[in-house]
């Protein structure tokens, strides 16, 4: 086992070394070039869960696909959207109009994600979103140029909400970030909790961004008498809430509605043990995910990939397969046709296994409920999760006919 993993890692490195030369040498022969734009958060709150790791995952996908032998080249462009929709759309337009970018990938931050989807549609290019949470991307805001790859608010709410109620957590209190994402998450989770027979006893919405002290809200939550504390926020806010819940001896069960592996790494197991969360990918979930993650880690200084970074790898791998299948020249010409090709082919990769893409642009795969390990249970760095439950691919996401995506009617 150890031997085979090391062999794969070395194989990945060899591939990495092998493809650099053809990438540059190929340009002189006027082979077709696919340009991939990674639009992500390189400096803000989502840098660790996407950012440089996402860029590395793109390069890994290209190297392992072995473009050298396929008769075309791939270039990668990177930009920071600064979590501002106007910056995101400006970069997207520049990339499509001036720099000849064919596909934009990643885009963590729901606000930027929705804005970029419109640009991709207008310019008829390919847009593969892995980092944004909003389920609107495959509902009213869906379009024929967009695929939402990894997770969404519906998936998170269903998996965490319903599972907590099933295991006895039938009364909830929410601490919610006061903006569209937090409110959507609370709304969706409330539906699942009440449908499963639980009830919501109350909640506080706090100012976003800029709140660092959650102790006051935690005391309010505690005095509500609810069994479960739902955290409808993300990033540093969630981290601070969890730390302070531990500090104030909050006895409630914590349900992180959007938590990433890097958040747990930042919190440390001492503080985060026992938290229940939903991710569609965890590096240590099977042999294939471990093999992928070892290759990723070789490029990324000992960090492990989040589901967002895994999604970048998965989506670019699938894109390259589809582009090769339909012909690179044709893929560069028509974004909607390329997306149709992506949807027509079943997906299969080391991160998410076998899956498919629905008509509304939703990539489907199972979702998993994890519990954070106790410090004593963890065998080494990044050994953080143990599996609690899973939801099969066809049940994990909002039913196709419930989203109101215009593409579905046809």
């Amino acid at each position: 086992m150890n031997v085979s993993r090391r062999a794969i890692t070395l194989g990945g490195l060899a591939a990495a070394a092998g493809t650099i030369a053809p990438l540059t040498a190929g340009r002189a022969q006027a082979r077709p070039v696919i340009r991939v734009g990674c639009l992500t958060d390189m400096s803000g709150p989502y840098k660790d869960l996407a950012g440089p790791g996402a860029v590395s995952a793109i390069k890994q996908a290209i190297q392992e696909f072995g473009v050298a032998g396929k008769g075309f080249d791939v270039e990668v462009l990177v930009a920071d959207h600064l979590n501002k929709p106007d910056v995101g759309t400006t970069v997207a337009r520049q990339w499509f109009d001036r720099d000849g970018v064919d596909v934009i990938v990643e885009v963590a931050n729901s606000g930027v994600a929705l804005a970029v989807a419109n640009v991709a549609k207008e310019k008829n290019k390919v847009y593969l979103n892995t980092g944004a949470a909003t389920s609107d991307l495959t509902a009213a805001a869906c379009n024929a140029n967009t695929i939402h790859w990894v997770y969404d608010t519906y998936m998170l709410a269903q998996s965490t909400g319903a599972a907590m109620v099933k295991s006895g957590g039938d009364s909830w209190f929410f601490i919610t970030a006061d903006y569209a994402f937090g409110k959507a998450l609370q709304r969706d989770t409330t539906d699942f909790v009440t449908n499963a027979g639980g009830k919501v006893l109350g909640g506080v919405t706090y100012p976003f961004p800029g709140t660092t002290d959650f102790s006051s809200y935690l005391i309010q939550a505690q005095s509500s008498g609810a069994k479960v504390l739902g955290l409808a926020n993300a990033g540093t806010d969630t981290i601070n809430t969890i730390k302070q819940a531990k500090e104030f001896g909050i006895k409630m069960r914590l349900a992180g509605l959007l938590l990433f592996l890097t958040d747990i790494h930042s919190l440390g197991l001492e503080v985060s043990q026992g938290i229940v969360l939903t991710d569609s990918f965890y590096w240590d979930m099977n042999d294939r995910s471990r093999a992928f993650s070892d290759r990723y880690t070789a490029n990324m200084k000992g960090t492990r990939p989040t589901m967002v970074q895994a999604g970048v790898y998965s989506s670019i791998s699938h894109y390259l397969k589809a582009a090769t299948a339909m012909g690179v020249d044709k893929a560069k010409l028509d974004g909607a046709a390329t997306i149709a090709q992506l949807k027509a082919m079943p997906t299969d990769d080391d991160c998410f296994g076998a899956g498919s893409i629905r008509a509304d642009g939703r990539k489907i795969h199972p979702s998993y409920l994890w519990e954070v390990k106790k410090p004593g249970e963890s065998k080494g760095p990044w050994d953080y999760y143990k599996a609690v439950a899973s939801t099969p691919a066809d049940k994990a996401f909002r039913p196709l006919d419930k989203g109101g995506c215009p593409l579905v009617k046809a």
């Binding site: 706090y206 961004p209 709140t211 005391i219 500090e247 930042s266």
Partner: protein, 295 residues
């Protein structure tokens, strides 16, 4: 259970106490700002970044050379204070003759650079820093569960604030310092090295920020953005207390922490805004601030 304005009494007392704890941070940070403004006439926007550096230095001391929390409480302010002195000597001192606005812009730029460097080096999701073993646990006060560490923060902040106030207002060193800000050439004529005094004052103000940073490290995640979240509120505190007023910044810091704490019970959405509402009211009625001296 008795009720006050429809809120259970214990919950309200809990919030008052929490407000006081947050107020301790506001007081320490605004005190440093007030000292620097009062003595140097520099609006030090880099204060938040240096607060963050205090927390990071504590983290580095622990993780790179194994120095724990209590030594870090002394060492980190010294290290960051020395860095502050370096900044003052090399960059900030060039702006003393210019309008305040230039100092503000310069220190704002510096804070962006410092935060950017830490973000590049250590990522944005923050690093864990444990509460020291001696201060772990909590006391049950009857109306709330009071973490011992938070109590320690209030105590440490109160002691440091009072000591700073006493040094500036009650000692001969403080008297010289105050005289130097009134009339630097005259004090220099008495044989006092005024530029060195000013440099040390800046270093001292920065050390206060770093001290607050170390205190904050176990509570909040050690994060490159942790100063930005505080700095706007702290500036409002300084304005409300009266620019440059030492006592004003301490009292206002604690008081606004309490006001904010109460807002979190009655209307949480407004808790980030309430400090600025107070600022507007104070500026309209007492433009020099609650404790500011007349011109």
């Amino acid at each position: 259970m008795f009720m006050i304005f429809g809120i259970p009494g214990p919950l309200l007392f809990g919030q008052l106490l929490l407000g006081l704890i947050n107020g301790a941070f506001y007081a320490m940070l605004s005190l440093g700002l007030a000292v620097i403004f009062g003595m140097l006439n520099i609006i030090n926007f880099a204060h938040g970044a240096l607060f963050m550096m205090g927390a990071f230095v504590a983290w580095m001391l622990l993780n790179y050379i194994g120095i724990g929390y209590f030594p870090a409480l002394i060492l980190a302010p010294l290290i960051v204070g020395a860095f502050g002195i370096l900044l003052e000597k090399t960059i900030i001192s060039r702006l003393y003759k210019l309008d305040h606005l230039y100092g503000l812009l310069l220190t704002f730029g510096l804070s962006l650079v410092i935060e950017g460097l830490f973000r590049n080096g250590y990522g944005s999701s923050g690093l864990p820093y444990r509460i020291p073993a001696a201060l772990q646990g909590a006391m049950d006060l009857g109306f709330m569960f009071m973490p011992i560490y938070r109590g320690w923060v209030v105590l440490a902040a109160a002691v440091v604030c009072l000591a700073t106030w006493a040094i500036i207002e009650k000692t001969s060193l403080g008297a010289t310092l105050r005289a130097a800000t009134e009339n630097a050439p005259l004090v220099q004529a008495f044989g006092v090295n005024v530029p060195r005094l000013i440099t040390l004052t800046y270093g001292g103000g920065i050390a206060l920020a770093a001290f607050a940073g170390v205190l904050a490290a176990p509570i909040y995640s050690v994060n490159p953005n942790m100063g930005t979240n505080f700095i706007n509120t702290v500036f409002a505190v300084v304005v409300i207390g009266g620019m440059g007023s030492i006592l004003g910044s301490i009292v206002t810091g604690f008081a606004l922490g309490v006001v904010e704490g109460l807002t979190k019970v009655f209307y949480p959405q407004a808790s980030a805004t309430v400090v600025f509402v107070v600022m507007v009211i104070v500026l309209l009625t007492r433009p020099r601030g609650l404790f500011g001296k007349a011109a």
